[in-house]
Symmetry: C2
Subunit: 143 residues, 2 copies
DNA sequence: ATTTAATTGCAAGTTATTTGCATTTGAGTA
DNA sequence: TACTCAAATGCAAATAACTTGCAATTAAAT
């Protein structure tokens, strides 16, 4: 079982041959300290302090996704959210109030099965698993 | 086990109290006949024939997601794709060439486990599971 | 056939994302 | 430490994506 690497923005950037710039460091540290995936808009806000330029942020996001450092998730109905790839967390989201809880299940065996079953695919590198439902608070509210 | 309802756009619209308009019918039939999830842009193109107005399309998409008729997925790195909710399919996508294959695994027991484990959540309505990897063609191409 | 609320199309916003290019900067090397 | 250079940035301008208001249309119920 692959050990889950502790998140070190500096090291992460180096590993992938990226320069360590203030924006990128801020971006990765915001993402790794967040308890939930963040949308572009949220990231823009959170990195304002570092003087984040929007264009630069988009470029960084693109590069990070490309490099597999972060993952896009479809939690909102029409925009993607990003999370650290190495957090490897799955979530439950309340479709009523938006509360997000982490569910650290391991579905790696399922991923393995998927690769074996497929005639077309040879390698499975990643998987995403997300749950949607109603949290206790909202269940009560409806009654 | 819930039986997987065959997809009938007409019926689907009625069930949810939607009027059966040409655009909506076209939209649902495009989505249910597609072997892979489609982005907004792809949907706009595919429904051009019916004289799809973009604003109307967006409104329909929003309403359908809201009603749980379709699901958004984060397959592309920065835009969501939509699929019929009742197709209930999971996918493998090649991160190299974009090929998408369906993997009809059932992870409903995992979903159940998630609900039981959670202190916060009472009900789990939906789950999404997607795989990413390299297809045989692209594995060969790299060598 | 008539009525009415839902839905649409259009045009005009607004927001999100991309691009080109001149300037700056991180990091390797002398 | 100073020097070099490709990588990365900031800015401004362009494009694309998405939203909104409203008058006109239409599905469906009577």
């Amino acid at each position: 079982m692959k050990k889950s690497t502790p998140i070190d923005p500096e090291a992460l950037l180096m590993e992938h041959g990226f320069k360590r710039t203030p924006l990128r460091l801020a971006l990765l540290s915001v993402l790794s300290q967040s308890t939930k995936p963040l949308t572009v808009t949220e990231l823009v806000k959170k990195t304002k302090k570092v003087g984040a330029d929007t264009a630069t942020l988009y470029r960084a996001l693109g590069a990070f996704v490309e490099a597999g450092i972060i993952h896009p998730l479809a939690l909102q109905k029409d925009k993607v959210s990003y999370q650290m790839a190495n957090s490897h967390a799955h979530h439950i989201m309340c479709t009523d109030c938006g509360t997000i809880e982490t569910v650290p299940f391991c579905v790696r065996d399922i991923a393995k099965k998927a690769a074996q079953t497929s005639k077309l695919f040879k390698i499975i590198n990643e998987h995403r698993l997300e749950f949607f439902g109603t949290c206790r608070k909202c269940v009560r509210a409806v009654r």
